[in-house]
């Protein structure tokens, strides 16, 4: 097992290097000159001295390493080749510098990362809590009226893009519900806040802070959960159906086991293997999926930071987040394979 993991880690490293080079080249293609943008602030100082201005520009180019070949710059970014006599790359723990925020990128990431992980984990847990029983129910009641109904509903669920679902939920929960409550009780309560991260001006601590955040993130989390219900339910149902048609299930039934034991012990264990892929895959896709959600609800998450930096041409931030997504994807695949081994004894034996 250890050897296997090591081999896979080496493979992840190779793919990461190839992909990061690819990404770096793509970013180098963007027609944008950082030195040109930075030198603008000297324009007033060197107003009447264009030669000095040009010299400053060249100096900045050199300082930023822009005069180098793109491959050299890439190696410098990784931290293998020195830029201006200094090793400053990923290997040295230098993750780049954000020019819009005027801070190192790594400092910038902590808050958005926390928020993104927070909403993703909650949404995935809720979604799993709903879809697993629902999928099992559908598989055991296959072909029935309730199953057909749920199947149709799930198709609709996964066909509707996140942004439309968000708009519909804002309309239903933040507008109609609020109006309804106001009409009934006369109180204007902001049950589901549409934007923001916390009560403006508040300074809560501990559990109160968490509750306040949950209150503000309730609507995005609901949209995200509902958005993932359709696809997940179908997946659980499919793998459960597959498991229920196995020979061992027939044997279990033939030897007179109770149906509950057959379904939850025998079939479920077999269905779990593809579901593990789903769960991990879901965590990954939800990282990029939350770009939409964060953008719509104005949450300070990774996706929002990504789009914001993209629009502000702050490419070091964009590049690092992109690499983060790549790493998550590659490591996710590795975790899937290891989890396979744990869940499925056959795989373990083969290795």
């Amino acid at each position: 097992m250890g050897k296997y993991v090591l081999k896979r880690l080496g493979y992840v490293l190779v793919v990461f290097l190839i992909l990061s080079l690819l990404m770096y080249l793509v970013y180098a293609m963007i027609p944008f000159d950082r030195a040109r943008a930075e030198v603008e602030q000297y324009k007033t100082i060197y107003k009447n001295e264009p030669e000095k201005f040009e010299a400053k520009y060249q100096e900045l180019r050199k300082e930023l390493g822009l005069d180098q070949n793109v491959f050299v710059r890439y190696l410098g970014w990784i931290g293998i080749v020195p830029i201006n006599g200094q090793y400053q790359g990923l290997l040295q723990g230098d993750f780049g510098y954000s020019y819009t925020y005027d801070r190192p990128v790594i400092e910038l990431l902590s808050e958005p990362m926390r928020n993104t992980v927070f909403i993703n984990i909650i949404a995935t847990i809720i979604a799993l809590g709903i879809t697993m029983p629902l999928g099992i129910f559908c598989a055991t009641h296959r072909g029935g009226k309730r199953d057909t109904f749920i199947q149709t509903a799930t198709i609709i669920g996964y066909s509707i893009p996140t942004f439309i679902m968000a708009i519909v939920f804002i309309w239903l929960l933040a507008i109609l519900l609020r109006e309804g409550v106001e009409a009934l009780t006369g109180l204007d309560i902001n049950i589901f806040p549409v934007s923001g991260m916390k009560t403006p001006g508040s300074d809560y601590k501990g559990i109160q802070k968490l509750l306040d955040e949950l209150h503000y993130m309730a609507l995005p989390i609901i949209v995200m959960t509902v958005g993932s219900l359709g696809g997940m339910t179908r997946y659980v149902r499919a793998s459960m159906t597959e498991a229920l048609s196995m020979d061992c299930i027939r044997t279990a039934r033939a030897k007179g086991l109770r149906e509950q034991v057959v379904v939850y012990s025998h079939a479920w264990r077999n269905a779990l293997i593809p579901i593990i892929t789903l769960v991990i895959g879901w965590f990954l896709s939800i990282f990029s999926g939350s770009i939409m959600i964060e953008n719509i609800f104005g949450l300070n998450g990774m996706g929002q930071l990504y789009i914001g930096s993209l629009n502000a041409k702050d490419f070091e931030v964009v590049l690092l987040i992109q690499m983060f997504y790549v790493i998550i994807g590659l490591l996710g695949n590795l975790v899937v394979d290891i989890a396979y081994g744990i869940a499925d004894p056959r795989v373990r034996v083969n290795n």
Partner: protein
């Protein structure tokens, strides 16, 4: 399989016959006939009512977006400021029946129309929206005082109405934020309604003309007295100079009109009065006043940005954006010129009607029977509609009925944009799917059939591609494209290719897996032993066996690509406005004001996109079910 027709032998002779002679030939064929897999699949598909419904809806959608743009071509630069955020309605031309026999005046600027009949009643029709909760600000809500009074004249602005009762009282309702009526106290640049008109009355018989412009109102008396009030700072820039001409230079106005930003008139002695405005100074390369010379101007009409002058010798002078009038036959004399917000209409002495100008909303499509002699004597052109009357009876009306799906924030027809946006979304989805399938099938086929190091290499490449996070990377690529100086069409084409290039990996893995399974079967061995070329076996013998998987994947991918395109466009990285797609139409709908009050702006594109994707997914799902032999066994 198929329903067995177990005909029970009906009589003893038949039983004997079957026992000794076997079944009849027809009987055997009936029982043992089987269909080819594809035919069977089609048959099974059409036995599922949900799938068939989805297919019909999808075909209807596709026809809608392919044929629709032929009838509703899109003009990307089109906007209509007077029709911003109009709700779905078709009531803009539904003139009340009381008005059909006895119209006294019909007036409109934007989306609603006010009419006064000969009995002194005021009617409003069309559509008006105000954020204000105050019912007084809703122009459609005619105040009680006006309903009870006997009204002789009425006029509509863009958000207010003015009416004059037979006792000389002047009524105003609608929005009064910028002194459209009754507001005393003068804010900078605004002319309030004169006090003598608020408190006192006017001599009705002396009123020559009552007109409203955009947030402006003017009353012209027979003796040349002029009352103008409203938001003059923005909507009537030359008002001071017109006043000066009237009060100091003694010009006696005979008829006046408003454009979007100015006021013009003709004087009793037939001069064109422009105040200090120099916009319409030049006509056919000559000074307008000089061109007119000593001839008298007898009529004037104006749209938002154009003016038409009718001279006493029946020559039409078109000034501004609308540069040329209609070609009249020899000997026709013009009786009157009227104007809407974007077009002109004229009636000739012989009773023919001509319309010209901006006809984007059908304002200039004069019905056939009005081009005959003696068809109409009066035409009320109001805003975007025209009502032709003969002897006081309504003969014909034409123009804009309304918007089936409302308009957006720039006054563009949502239906038109849904049709054209759908074509864009579907085209992008289709091209992306074709690109991704071609790559996916080729890579999958080669990898699965040849195996070995080819397989290893191709699968590693596939894995690298599938490790690229899709949405972020697509965002970056389209950001790069935005920075470049590419044509919009090329950019869209490249977006299609990018979507295809990023989404082929799933299909490649699927095809490879299928081919690995098929490769071991006997028919491949047979083909190999017959000496058929490897590539021919891979693509001609094995590929058809996995075609069902490919079709299912194609269908589902089409839906996914459409969704991706809309997501990209929604975020502003796909197709750019003003070119519509179903995704970017929702771009401006993120705030709760739009979601709540202008629901038609998001509900229609969202509905069309959702229904199309749902239908495609249902079809793909059903196809997978019927093509999967396993699912058949279980039933």
């Amino acid at each position: 399989m198929e329903k067995k027709q177990n005909k029970r032998p009906s009589n003893f002779a038949q039983i004997l016959k079957r026992m000794f002679l076997g079944g009849t030939i027809e009987h055997t064929v009936e029982n043992e006939r089987y269909d080819s897999p594809s035919k069977l699949a089609v048959k099974r598909f059409f036995r599922k009512p949900i799938a068939v419904t989805a297919l019909i809806i999808l075909i209807a959608m596709i026809l809608f977006v392919i044929i629709g743009p032929i009838f509703m071509p899109i003009d990307l630069s089109y906007t209509e400021t007077l029709h911003q955020n109009v709700a779905p309605n078709l009531s803009m031309m539904s003139i009340p029946s009381e008005m059909k026999d006895s119209p006294s005046s019909i007036s409109s600027q934007g989306s609603f129309t006010i009419g006064v009949d000969k009995d002194g009643n005021v009617h409003t029709w069309g559509y008006f929206y105000t954020f204000s909760e105050d019912p007084e600000k809703d122009v459609m809500n005619i105040p009680e005082a006006v309903q009870n009074a006997n009204i002789v004249l009425g006029a509509a602005g863009t958000d207010h109405c003015i009416a004059i009762g037979d006792d000389g009282t002047i009524y105003g309702w609608g929005d009064d934020d910028v002194a459209q009526y009754g507001r005393d106290g003068r804010m900078l640049g605004q002319y309030p309604q004169p006090m003598e008109l608020i408190n006192g009355k006017i001599v009705v018989d002396n009123v020559s003309q009552l007109i409203c412009g955009d947030q402006m109102t003017a009353i012209l008396m027979n003796d040349g007295t002029l009352y103008v009030w409203g938001n003059a700072m923005a909507k009537c820039l030359n008002l001071d100079s017109i006043y000066k001409a009237v009060n100091k230079d003694g010009v006696k106005l005979q008829k006046i009109c408003f454009t979007n930003t100015n006021m013009f008139g003709i004087s009793e002695d037939g001069k064109f009065i422009t105040g200090n405005n120099k916009q319409y100074e030049i006509y056919r390369g000559q000074n307008t006043q000089e061109y007119i010379g000593n001839r008298k101007v007898v009529d004037i009409a104006s749209t938002g940005d154009s003016i038409v002058l009718l001279l006493e010798d029946s020559e039409l002078i078109s000034l501004g954006a609308i540069t040329s009038g209609p070609e009249l036959p020899e000997g026709e004399t013009i009786a009157a010129v009227a104007s809407g917000s974007r077009h002109f209409v004229l009636t000739t002495v012989s009773g023919k009607v001509y319309a010209w100008g901006n006809g984007a909303l059908n304002q200039t499509d004069v019905p056939k029977n009005l081009t005959e002699e003696g068809a109409a004597d009066t035409v009320f052109a109001s805003g975007f509609q025209n009502y032709a009357f003969k002897d006081g009876k309504l003969v014909e009306k034409w123009g804009l009925k309304g918007y089936l799906m409302g308009t957006d924030d720039l006054g563009r027809d949502v239906l038109n944009r849904v049709v054209n946006g759908g074509r864009m979304t579907m085209t992008i989805g289709a091209v992306a799917v074709i690109v991704s399938s071609i790559i996916g099938i080729i890579v999958g086929c080669i990898s699965g059939y040849f195996g070995g190091w080819v397989d290893l290499l191709l699968m590693r490449i596939t894995e690298i591609f599938s490790a690229i996070p899709f949405l972020p990377f697509a965002l970056v690529l389209s950001a790069i494209l935005q920075g470049s100086s590419l044509q919009e069409d090329t950019r869209i084409f490249i977006i299609m290719i990018i979507l295809g290039l990023l989404s082929w990996t799933g299909l490649a893995k699927l095809v490879r897996g299928q081919i690995l399974a098929e490769r071991e079967k006997e028919f491949v061995v047979a083909a190999q032993s017959m000496g058929i070329k490897e590539s021919r076996i891979a693509f001609k013998h094995i590929l058809p066996n996995v075609v069902s998987v490919i079709i299912v994947s194609l269908t589902l991918d089409f839906a996914t690509c459409m969704l991706t395109e809309s997501s990209l466009s929604y975020l502003g990285f796909g197709v750019k406005l003003p070119r519509p797609t179903w995704g970017n139409m929702l771009d401006g709908c993120r705030n709760s004001i739009v979601i709540q009050h202008f629901w038609w702006r998001w509900i229609f594109p969202a509905l069309f996109l959702a229904i199309t994707v749902i239908c495609i997914n249902i079809i793909g799902d059903t196809l997978r079910d019927i093509m999967d032999p396993k699912s058949e066994v279980e039933k």
